[in-house]
């Protein structure tokens, strides 16, 4: 064997990497021996090839073996965890229930957040889609609106090569719709250009799709509308009548609009040419800000560049205008937009709040776990001492405890999933979403779920693992150290942390609740109770006088008036206002509403000065204005009554000043307002004040009367009070959700406290026994056991207060009308947490305090 060859160095290195620990040095020998045989027989090159191949082929058996081996270990951990759980049922229940509730909260919130973030991301070109938004200067501030004038879309496409396509959208309120013998008010109608369906991804299920919109008199409907109108019949080619005068042929059916888009649900689509049939539509008016415009940028176009170029476009086409336009990415609209009809909190704020809550709740649950496990370390110290004596290394113990906490978390995860399945329908009702349990049944979600679980297990197990593994067996077994007593500083800190978070959540909840309550019960300046609103179509407007005369005959109908917009939201506004002594340079944006004579009486709006509209003055119909106090203050005259006033091309004088009332959501303040009498052309709504008794029979009578006057139009109405509440629906929803989650967080924290107290009681049984023998009363014992916890909770309160104060003041700044964060909220939260803590402690200590000392001392 003179020509002995050594193995190539690289392959040796590789072999050493892959060989498992139980294969010793002799394995290299095996390889080298065989290598030499082969090299002698078939040459070195082949031997090298053989060796490489053999190394590669050796890897799978090693891996398979390693996995099998680990599985055996895991099984062992699972068994031990299970036995431990069974031995200490209360403790395990507290631990797992806490973790499960924490995980369930966290997962639910994650589902919610994911859904919130998915808005408008399903459009194929969503990263190139933008909405045109408008900055309108008005009395010193910028009004941010999304409505644009009709010629803007075509102009954008013509003037800027970066803009590939534009589309315009017009939302319509309720429109009478007739199909065959069915008639009702369609409140989900939009008018769009054909390009709409190429910009946005709303798929078609039947018919020609968007292309047919360019032919006149064609309409598209949604799947659910097709179903409600025509049942199982094929809707294509069917004729519908819109607004009692236009006939349309249905040429396509699109899939129902999903929830996660900023575009409001629509079920009926007419083509843009429908607008041309409207008398009032001016396709080239740069001043009619009523339509949405969307643009699709080219692949290479930069959003910032385009944004800069288009800013002054409207000013360019319409001289004298100071309006600026901007693009806003479509995926930002739902959560981040500042351009909204309602000026409440942006969605992203809620996403942050809820993410924080999810984290808090999970952290509190983790802290529970750490606390209870370390507190119980006393019971397991001997096990660890034993393990170490037989030869376990520290890292084995660490792995064991991590494993244990991961298993507990896994059990908890199972429970959490069951919980979610149980509460998801309720949660959906609560949030108005359509979250689906099965949406988390894909591999990303499973990985994410496992990630969260393992992370939770890791965080929860970290302290116990590191702490318990540090025991010196000789100390533990000889009982030199009282384990679990000395190192309680960390535990104390954890409890304080936990309760601080609970305090923050409680204060947050109280503030949110108080603010919402404040808004709901605030005097808004008009009476919204027992007031119903009926939307009027063109035909009904014409017969309004008959309607009014007929309805007022009814004894329980107290008043009836008509208005251009509903008092919950006066829509139209303009800066074309002038009055005697007005500074010509000053731009004032005034809201306007056109009403019937008895508007103020029906709504119970009080006058501050002057008189209301009256039929006795023939000039009132065309020349009289009423203004609100805010506008009166802006005019800076001694008495505005009698002053000359001109608005929207109407010259006249002010006949009275109304007391300020809210005509927008309370999130914004009261702006300047003028109202004037209108003719029936302008009356979109009839407002009816009914008697508070027998409301349902009044409504029935109304329906009968209605059918007599308008046999072809259904009677549809809404209660103003409900409309009012609806404005705050998102806040109310969020408020409720925050309540629930905060309540859960406090619940979990209390579970932890309960566990800790029971542990403390168990540990001090003998001490209590001796104290009782020496004459301590039950009260004394309670105090001795409880004082420490009470102190912790107090400290937690002090820590939580400033954080909560800071966070909540910030939140309240979003409201124009808001409550102050007063001391009573802090006092209440302290009392609440203290009470809960005391009850938990007392509950556990009671047994110890009333037990017979002989029981606990007889073994000594």
């Amino acid at each position: 064997m003179a020509d002995k060859i050594r193995l190539p160095k690289f392959l040796v290195w590789l072999l050493l990497r892959i060989l498992p620990e139980y294969v010793d040095d002799t394995a290299l020998g095996d390889f080298e021996e065989e290598y030499n045989h082969i090299a002698a027989d078939r040459g070195r090159a082949f031997a090298n090839f053989w060796l490489s191949l053999n190394i590669i082929k050796s890897i799978p058996p090693f891996i398979a073996d390693a996995i099998r081996f680990r599985l055996v270990m895991l099984k062992n951990y699972a068994t031990i965890t299970w036995r431990n759980m069974k031995r200490h049922k209360t403790y395990s229940f507290i631990n797992i229930a806490g973790l499960a509730v924490g995980l369930a909260c966290c997962l639910l919130i994650t589902l919610w957040v994911l859904d919130e973030r998915s808005y408008d991301r399903f459009h194929e070109n969503y990263d190139r889609l933008y909405r045109v938004v408008v900055n309108q200067p008005s009395s010193g501030e910028m009004r941010k609106i999304v409505a644009t004038p009709p010629p803007l879309g075509p102009a954008l496409k013509n003037d800027f090569p970066e803009i590939v396509e534009t589309t315009r959208l017009s939302y319509w309120g309720s429109v009478p719709l007739r199909a065959g013998d069915k008639s009702f008010n369609e409140s989900h109608m939009v008018i769009v250009e054909p390009s709409f369906f190429s910009l946005f991804t709303f798929p078609f299920v039947k018919g020609e799709g968007a292309a047919s919109l360019s032919t006149p008199n064609s309409a598209l409907i949604s799947e659910r509308r097709a179903e409600s109108l025509f049942g199982n019949e094929d809707p294509i080619g069917k004729v519908i009548q819109v607004d009692n005068r236009f006939d349309y042929i249905i040429t396509g059916v699109f899939r129902d609009i999903p929830n996660n888009t900023h575009i409001r649900q629509f079920d009926l689509v007419l083509s843009w040419s429908h607008l041309d049939q409207m008398e009032w539509y001016e396709s080239d008016s740069w001043g009619a800000f009523s339509y949405r415009t969307y643009v699709l940028l080219g692949e290479k176009a930069s959003f910032q560049d385009v944004n800069q170029k288009i800013t002054k476009l409207i000013q360019h086409y319409s001289s004298g205008s100071k309006v600026e336009i901007l693009l806003e990415p479509i995926s930002d609209i739902h959560l981040r937009s500042h351009y909204r009809l309602s000026t409440g909190l942006r969605g992203i704020v809620y996403v942050y709040i809820f993410s924080a809550i999810a984290l808090f709740v999970l952290l509190i649950a983790c802290v529970n776990f750490m606390n209870l496990t370390t507190a119980r370390s006393f019971n397991r110290a001997r096990e660890i001492g034993m393990r170490k004596t037989i030869g376990a290394l520290r890292r084995h113990v660490i792995v064991q405890f991590f494993g244990e906490s991961c298993f507990m978390t896994l059990y908890a995860l199972g429970l959490a999933l069951a919980l979610i399945g149980l509460v998801l329908p309720e949660f959906n009702k609560f949030t108005g979403k359509q979250l689906n349990f099965y949406s988390i049944c894909n591999w990303q979600a499973v990985i994410g779920l496992m990630g969260i679980t393992l992370l939770t297990g890791f965080v929860a197990g970290s302290y116990p693992a590191l702490y318990l593994s540090s025991f010196r067996p000789v100390h533990v077994l000889r009982k030199v150290v009282q384990i679990g007593k000395k190192k309680s500083v960390f535990r104390r800190a954890l409890v304080i942390l936990q309760f601080s978070m609970s305090v923050i959540l409680i204060i947050g909840t109280l503030v949110v609740y108080a603010q919402l309550d404040y808004i709901r019960n605030r005097r808004i300046g008009w009476e919204r109770e027992n007031l119903i609103s009926i939307s009027l179509s063109r035909e009904m407007r014409k017969s309004f006088d008959i309607l009014k005369a007929e309805l007022l005959k009814h004894p329980r109908i107290l008043g009836l008036t008509a208005t251009y917009s509903e008092p919950t939201n006066f829509e139209s506004s303009s800066w074309g206002v002038n009055w005697e002594g007005k500074d010509a340079e000053e731009v004032v944006h005034v809201t306007l509403n056109l009403v019937d004579y008895d508007f103020l009486d029906t709504l119970n709006i009080e006058m501050a000065e002057g008189r209301s509209f009256s039929k006795e003055f023939s000039t009132d119909a065309t020349q009289a204005f009423l203004i609100n106090e805010t506008l009166a203050r802006m005019m800076e005259t001694e008495s505005p009554v009698g002053a000359k006033f001109s608005f929207i091309g109407r010259e006249g004088q002010i006949i009275g000043v109304m007391k300020d009332f809210h005509f927008h959501s309370l999130r914004t303040g009261i702006g300047p307002l003028a109202i004037a009498l209108g003719s029936d052309d302008y009356w979109n709504f009839a407002l009816v004040r009914i008697h508070q008794e027998n409301v349902s029979s009044t409504l029935e009578d109304l329906n009968i009367l209605w059918k007599k006057i308008f046999p072809y139009s259904p009677f549809t109405f809404s209660f103003m009070e409900e409309d009012y509440e609806r404005q705050y629906r998102s806040e109310t929803r969020m408020g409720k959700l925050i309540n629930v989650f905060a309540g859960l967080a406090v619940f979990i924290a209390c579970l932890g406290l309960l566990g800790l107290t029971s542990f403390a009681v168990e540990q001090r049984r003998k001490e209590i026994g001796i104290r009782k023998v020496l004459g301590a009363s039950a009260g004394n014992i309670l105090w001795i056991l409880g004082r420490e916890f009470v102190l912790w909770v107090l400290v937690a309160n002090v820590i939580g207060w400033p954080i909560a104060y800071f966070a909540m003041s910030n939140w309240l700044r979003n409201f124009a009308y808001r409550i102050g964060v007063g001391p009573e909220i802090f006092v209440f939260s302290s009392v609440l947490t203290l009470a809960v803590a005391i009850v938990a402690v007392a509950f556990q200590s009671r047994r110890a305090a009333t037990s017979n000392p002989a029981d606990s001392l007889r073994y000594e």
Binding site: V23, T26, L28, G29, E32, K57, S58
Partner: protein
């Protein structure tokens, strides 16, 4: 009776057959010949390790020799337990096939 996996069974058989000369190189050769396909060393180490943990074989180090780069051989030897297990395997096979007529091509 605890069952052996098929690789374990083959390797145990090889160790028993090879008697004094049972270390990885001939074991691999033996098993490869028996099954008619090439086995990697890795596929031998794993069952060998298992058998040793179960106490069916034991091992000791031989003198180092130059063809192995001066490394020792790890010689495996079947234990009485191993012999018993092998006998049980044989018995199992025999009883499994007892009374079953020969496979015919048809």
């Amino acid at each position: 009776m605890k069952f052996l996996s098929r690789p374990e069974e083959l390797v145990l058989h090889a160790v028993w057959q090879l008697k004094e000369d049972a270390y990885c190189v001939p074991i691999r050769k033996h098993v490869s010949k028996l099954t008619g396909k090439g086995w990697s060393f890795g596929a031998i180490y794993v069952p060998l390790h298992r058998l040793e943990k179960k106490g069916l074989v034991k091992s000791f180090l031989d003198n180092p020799i130059p063809v192995r780069g001066g490394r020792s051989r790890r010689i495996y030897k079947i234990t009485p337990h191993g012999l018993k297990a092998l006998a049980e395997v044989r018995e199992l096979h025999d009883s499994m096939w007892a009374g079953v007529p020969e496979f015919s091509s048809e």
